[in-house]
């Protein structure tokens, strides 16, 4: 295993050094190959996702295949523009000269994919890495074994196998990979492992992007229009149970709502859940299962705390055989219980009531910075307040999850939810070095740049730094002392 890994790494390094991954045509071919792969193998992907997580094929298409199709197509469309150097304006003082910034590939990069969106969150960063002209090692998560083995088997059939490699494995493989020097590490996962990744990267001065999670709060302001309330409830359900049964870094973690509005929200949530998932949601084919027994047990334990159990107002049934947990709503569980201190990452939805919705800002600010804040409100002052007084990777008003597919917005965390950003051009940038280039001519060499130093040179340089061309001229023709 060890030797094999070193060979792969050497091959990736050699391919990068050969320079072939730098050409626009190579990059485009690889992106096209990836698109062809997801078209040809759509059924296999859907099947793997069903095996790994019980993901319904429509959900799987929306959150995995569709995401990759969108990202790869967008990268193909924009690549020429992204690769073009940006010109920088230089002060006249440097005349004749020109400045520009070119994006160059970093080299050999390592991407860690997670298990919850084992196809899209593995391949989306790879699209950025390829678009930027790097060679890539993708480590697929062993916790989604079917998807991982699909990637290992299929990627080499479509893409340049000397430049894009896939490896599957657990902690041991991760540790081995981290001993080597990479030019960038892109990690999606938990803060605990994120720390380890960054510590290892520090030994080689490797920059990292950490896409972590956190408890994404959803502020629900008191809404008056019944149709708005209906839309809000659907979007909350979509952002919680509709996305891998809550096993998503941008999934709704908990709701903040005013006490007097809570009954309306709860009532409609219950009704809508029933409508969407039927009378026996455990048997619904529209709900993902929990990824494995460990996570099932973890979630089970969250509910076992007697005070938490007492706060369940809807659902709460678990099927250990099928690893399915019913959509579960809790009203005001204790704030120091694990369900309110740890990221839930599952189908449990605590609702915390406040006297006044404004208190939600302080509530959020007293906890680690989340990846996303969702807020349903029509109050523009409150919107502005949320944007300027809280901190999070992103803020989405009146909807959930959609920011993820909006390529013009950077996607990434801050503080506890990580750092570095991707999507659209940001993916390209995250895998590029912005190299500053300045070109001068041999003409016009200014004597005052060189010693021996004297007062005249000092005056000259002072003026030059102020870009005070008028006085500079006076000084040069001897009119200024």
């Amino acid at each position: 295993m060890g030797g094999e890994l070193e060979d792969s790494l050497a091959e990736l390094r050699q391919t990068f050094t050969s320079g072939r991954t730098r050409s626009a045509s190579w990059r485009k071919n690889q992106l096209r190959a990836l698109l062809k792969l997801i078209h040809d193998k759509e059924d296999n992907i859907l099947e793997a996702l069903f095996q790994d997580l019980g993901k319904h094929h429509v959900e799987a298409y929306r959150d995995e295949i569709g995401v990759i199709e969108k990202s790869a197509t967008n990268a193909l469309d924009c690549l020429d523009k992204w690769m073009a150097p940006t010109k920088s304006r230089l002060p006249l003082l440097f005349f004749p000269a020109k400045g520009e910034v070119i994006s160059e590939p970093l080299g050999v990069v390592l991407v860690f994919g997670p298990w919850n969106f084992p196809i899209s969150l593995a391949l989306d960063p790879v699209i950025g890495a390829i678009a930027a002209g790097n060679t890539v090692m993708l480590k697929a998560s062993e916790l989604a074994p079917e998807s991982a083995s699909f990637l290992v088997k299929t990627i080499p059939l479509y893409m340049d196998s000397n430049a894009v490699k896939v490896i599957v494995g657990g902690v041991d493989v991760g540790e081995q990979l981290l001993q080597h020097k990479w030019d960038k590490i892109f990690f999606t996962g938990s803060p605990r492992v994120g720390r380890e990744v960054m510590s290892a990267a520090a030994q080689h001065l490797t920059p990292v992007a950490l896409e972590l999670g956190g408890k994404c709060p959803t502020i629900v302001d008191t809404l008056s229009s019944p149709s708005d309330i209906k839309t809000m409830v659907k979007r909350v359900i979509g952002g919680k149970w509709g996305i891998c049964s809550g096993q998503a870094c941008i999934g709704v973690d908990y709701i903040l709502v005013e006490e007097k509005f809570a009954p309306t929200v709860i009532d409609l949530l219950k009704k809508t859940i029933k409508k969407l998932y039927g009378d026996s949601p455990i048997n619904s084919k529209y709900l993902c299962r929990i990824v494995n027994e460990n996570h099932f047990e973890r979630l089970h334990k969250l509910l076992e705390d007697p005070l938490v159990a007492a706060s369940i107002i809807h659902g709460g049934s678990l099927d250990k055989e099928k690893l399915i947990i019913e959509p579960t709503i809790l009203l005001n569980p204790p704030l120091d219980a694990e369900i309110m201190t740890e990221e839930i990452f599952g189908p449990l939805l605590p609702i915390i009531t406040l006297n006044h919705i404004q208190e939600s800002i302080e509530f959020i600010n007293s906890r680690p910075k989340p990846l996303t804040i969702y807020a349903f409100t029509k109050d523009e002052t409150f919107m502005r307040q949320i944007v300027s007084e809280t901190s999070s990777g992103s803020v989405t008003f009146n909807d959930t999850i959609v920011q993820f597919v909006c390529d013009v917005l950077p996607f990434g965390g801050v503080g506890h939810s990580g750092f570095g950003r991707y999507h659209g051009k940001y993916s390209f940038d995250t895998f590029s070095h912005e190299k500053a280039i300045m070109q001068r001519s041999f003409l016009l060499d200014l004597e005052p740049r060189y010693p021996p130093w004297n007062d005249f040179k000092m005056k000259f340089i002072r003026l030059a730094y102020k870009y005070d061309y008028f006085n500079l001229m006076l000084l040069l023709i001897g009119l200024k002392k």
Partner: protein, 491 residues
């Protein structure tokens, strides 16, 4: 006051660091530093501070490094003044949210990217430009609305204590602090949770800083160094090239600068001419006895002096000196020294020189120089002198470095429209101008949706028709969407 200060210095341990950060965090939390007024007031104050104390600053730099007044005025004070003036002029634009055009997939919606301060940041600076490299990042941190701690280098003690004094007098001490000290104090600071750490220095400490940051998931910006090469092609105005090399090497703190030319690569054929020109220009600038020149900085301390002496005394190197080589241990002075054809496995060619020694490597063909550069770690800067367009093109596309300059040296540092920062061993992250503001900001994505425009396809129960519509929605083509809605599409 003085003794109290000293006591405080000795007592700066982890506990002190913890309470300092707590204090700054409280100050940041009350929102003061976020206001536009606060940022502008602090920047203006800093401007006033350097205007009123320019002489003291020059003196401190002379004490620490015997830095010539002109160098201090130009590279430390004027550069900083420009940086502040630019921030003051541009900050209104920088803090404005950037509107973005959202796609059809999320219609109807509008989006913006809001720059928000990261929080409480730590800036650890270096001894070679102890004034500029301390306060230039501070300008960015303030402009972006952060509270901060600055830890100047203990190796430039006069500047460090002057910074502590002046910052204490001029800046808002509830949000901006200076902590002086060495390893113990730095370690105590690194134990704390920061929202960003900005470090200027070497790769060894850079690794320590990043590993410490990892414990708190703190992003880092590392400004390191490296061996910045100069490739000199034939058929150029050699005199101008040589003067510009000298300006970047000995006129920049006697080579003790992270973007100083570290070594030259030239063809065998052209090398003698280069050496001759270097000799005559150096003599014009620094006279026959450069150890006496007032226009050269000294070596910062005896450790560094010994390090540099060791490079020259290595057996396979000592015979290669073609110019200079004189040193004065008592005054910590080393004359501009040029070495020809040093072996590549020598110490001087395997470490960053950071001093007044300039080795010249020779190659048969100038194109061979790129392979030499790429065989080492990525430098902070790389320079090329040429009139050959093709060579220039090749240089730009094959040499990876923080920044490149063609036909000059070090000037890119002064251009605020260019990002300044390293890659690989020379660091990560960039600053200067707006890039400084960005380095200390979080770019928060904000998406505004309306309650209208809800598509049933997003929610279960999932059907075949929903899948078809979703497929076209994800790619955002309006025609396909209409097609799918009307039932034409067979996607």
């Amino acid at each position: 006051m003085g003794t109290e200060e000293e006591e405080k210095k000795v007592l700066f341990d982890e506990e002190a660091a913890t309470s300092l950060v707590k204090e700054l965090r409280a100050s940041f939390a009350n929102g003061k530093t976020r206001s536009y007024d606060w940022r502008v007031t602090q920047l203006k104050s800093m401007l006033k501070m350097i205007d009123e104390h320019e002489l003291e600053i020059v003196k401190a730099l002379r004490d620490d490094l015997s830095k010539p007044e002109l160098e201090s005025t130009v590279y430390e004070i004027a550069m900083l003044r420009n940086s502040i003036t630019l921030a003051l002029k541009e900050i209104k634009h920088w803090i404005k949210p950037e509107k973005v055009k959202t796609s059809l997939t999320t219609f109807p919606s509008s989006g913006e990217i809001v720059s928000e301060p990261l929080g409480v940041v730590l800036i650890i600076s270096a001894w070679n430009y102890p004034f500029l490299l301390s306060l230039d990042p501070v300008v960015g941190a303030i402009a972006a609305g952060n509270a901060l701690v600055l830890k100047p280098s203990e190796i430039a003690p006069a500047t460090s204590s002057l910074l502590a004094k002046l910052v204490g007098e001029y800046m808002d001490s509830s949000s901006i602090r200076v902590v002086e000290g060495a390893v113990t104090e730095t370690s105590a600071l690194l134990e704390q949770k920061w929202d960003k750490i900005f470090y200027t220095g070497n790769g060894r400490v850079g690794r320590i800083v990043m590993a410490a940051a990892a414990k708190h998931l703190t992003p880092v910006l590392l400004e390191l160094g490296g061996k910045s090469p100069v490739v000199v092609d034939s058929g150029i105005n050699l005199q101008v090239a040589v003067r510009r090399i000298i300006a970047g090497k000995w006129c920049c703190n006697n080579g003790q600068a992270c973007i100083s030319p570290d070594y030259i690569i030239i063809t065998k054929e052209y090398a003698p001419k280069l050496v001759d020109t270097l000799k005559s220009e150096l003599e014009k600038f620094y006279g026959k006895n450069p150890l006496e020149s007032k226009d050269l900085s000294r070596i910062v301390n005896s450790n560094h002096f010994t390090r540099l002496a060791k490079y020259l005394d290595e057996d396979k190197v000592s015979g290669k000196i073609v110019y200079g080589g004189e040193r004065d241990k008592t005054n910590l002075k080393i004359a501009p020294t040029v070495l020809l054809d040093v072996p590549r496995d020598s110490l001087i060619m395997s470490e960053e020189i950071f001093g007044p020694l300039l080795p010249i490597l020779t190659v048969d063909k100038i194109e061979d120089s790129f392979a030499i550069i790429n065989s080492g770690t990525k430098p902070l800067a790389a320079y090329l002198f040429t009139n050959n367009k093709k060579l220039r093109q090749q240089f730009v596309s094959t040499v990876s470095a923080g920044g490149l300059v063609v036909n000059d040296t070090t000037l890119h540092l002064a251009v605020h429209t260019l990002p300044f920062g390293g890659v690989g061993e020379s660091g990560m992250g960039a600053y200067h101008g707006k890039f400084s503001f960005d380095a200390f900001s979080h770019k928060k994505a904000v998406l505004y949706r309306s309650f209208a425009g809800d598509a049933a396809i997003r929610y279960p129960p999932y059907t075949g028709g929903k899948l078809r519509l979703m497929k076209v929605l994800m790619t955002g083509s309006i025609f396909s969407i209409i097609g799918a809605l009307l039932g034409w599409s067979k996607v």
